[in-house]
């Protein structure tokens, strides 16, 4: 998870992101961003995330926890 924040910042088109920030509040947040996150989870962490997982999340920190928990299994 070394460069998780860098990648998220890139996907969300901002300089940096923090755990407390709300996903839906980003200007760039849309269905393409969620697909990009699904693709990143697959290629970087070898885990499956679905749109319905993402819809339940509020913040960057919650997304990180979800990826952490899936990656451990």
């Amino acid at each position: 998870m070394d460069n998780f924040y860098e990648k998220m910042a890139e996907l969300l088109e901002v300089d940096k992101v923090e755990d407390s920030e709300v996903l839906k509040d980003f200007e760039a947040w849309d269905s393409l961003t969620s697909l990009s996150i699904i693709a990143m989870a697959d290629s970087d962490y070898n885990i499956k995330i679905y749109t319905e997982d993402l819809l339940k999340l509020e913040t960057i920190g919650e997304l990180k926890s979800l990826i952490d928990s899936k990656a451990k299994k």
Binding site: D30, S31, D42
Partner: protein, 355 residues
């Protein structure tokens, strides 16, 4: 499951696309999204131009046009057609089969087998497999395999999920017996009906007949509008399915055929969108130049027709005088996924024409 075919070959491929072209930029205003977001989607997915039928053109219209083109130009002899296979998910009617309708339009001989197969994204592979099986018969020397879909007619114009990528078209592939006993075609195919609803047109069949209710547009969580009469795709499920299942399928095919990945000239895959194909190429470990991903941006994704379109568009001219080892792969609706390792050489024709 692994499959092996001996003494069969492809001798010609023709793709027919509607002359009518629409562009992503012109349709952006249909979608419930900002222009900036739509442009980002366009760049990532490779959306641009696509070919779709006008009015109420049907698969049999495009297939008949393509067959007549081959007959008129001396590229196909009517009396030699022993089997006419059509793979489609947009038939003219529930009954009779559309291949029979085409048989009638062309007035083909009666000593022939006509067959429709309901398959989409993997439909080129399923069609080839069926055609090769028929060629085992002594009385069948030439099979005409048609793939065709006009699914743009079932996609909501306000669905940014599916509308920007859908294309229409048909292809005709001629298959014959190969006298060379050394020619072996390797293939594999898998199915998972648990995800039958990942790509579906919910209404219009016998389960849920079309009605005023099924024709009503509804908004989904992403702001797309579509009705139950429209095609709906769970993009995330399809993406995860493709990235999980396709790379091991290709590994397994190469192992079965005992062929190294470096000895394959081209990977002609189904064309869902540029994004998915690039991720797939990265995972399988082949360069983008060996796995073309330019069909969605030029023609749209025409389901089972996308592989022949990809072959004709990218290496059509070269296949008239060259010999290539090609890996084909189709994956999607069903869910169905299949791949094939086949030598294609010295084709009689391999091109795209407009309808």
């Amino acid at each position: 499951m692994n499959l092996k075919f001996k003494g069969k070959k492809i001798t010609g491929i023709l793709t027919v696309v509607p002359a009518n072209e629409v562009s992503f930029d012109d349709e952006m205003e249909n979608y419930n999204f900002s222009a900036a977001k739509s442009l980002k989607l366009k760049l990532t997915m490779g959306y641009n131009k696509r070919r779709v039928v006008k009015n109420e053109d049907c698969v049999s219209d495009l297939c008949s046009y393509g067959l007549n083109y081959l007959l008129d130009n001396g590229l196909l002899n009517k009396d030699e057609i022993d089997a006419l296979i059509l793979v489609t998910q947009s038939p003219d009617y529930f009954m009779p089969s559309t291949s029979n309708v085409i048989h009638g339009k062309l007035n083909l001989k009666k000593d022939i087998i006509c067959m429709d197969i309901n398959q989409g994204c993997a439909g080129y592979l399923v069609g080839l497999i069926q055609s090769f099986l028929l060629l085992d018969q002594e009385s069948i020397n030439k099979v005409v395999l048609m793939n065709g879909d006009v699914l743009s007619r079932k996609v909501s114009s306000k669905d940014r999920n599916s509308n920007p990528l859908i294309g229409d078209g048909i292809s005709i592939t001629i298959l014959e017996k190969d006298k060379n006993p050394d020619s072996v075609i390797y293939a594999n195919i898998k199915t998972d009906g648990v995800f039958a609803d990942a790509l579906i047109i919910p209404a219009g069949g016998f389960r849920l007949p079309s009605s005023a209710e099924t024709g009503r547009l509804e908004e989904d969580v992403s702001g797309n509008f579509r009705s139950k009469d429209n095609l709906v795709m769970r993009g995330d499920a399809v993406f995860n399915f493709v990235q999980t299942q396709v790379p091991p399928m290709i590994d397994s095919l190469l192992e079965y055929a005992n062929v190294s990945i470096g000895s394959i000239d081209y990977f002609m895959f189904h064309q869902p969108n540029k994004f998915m194909l690039q991720k797939l190429a990265d995972k399988i470990g082949v360069g983008y130049e060996k796995m073309p991903n330019n069909i969605v941006e030029n023609f749209g994704n025409s389901s089972g027709v996308s592989i022949p379109t990809c072959i004709c568009y990218n290496i059509g001219e070269n296949l008239l005088n060259n010999h290539y080892k090609i890996c084909l792969a189709g994956f999607g609706v069903g869910l169905t996924w299949s791949s094939m390792l086949i030598d294609i050489a010295d084709l009689d024709f391999c091109k795209i024409i407009d309808y």
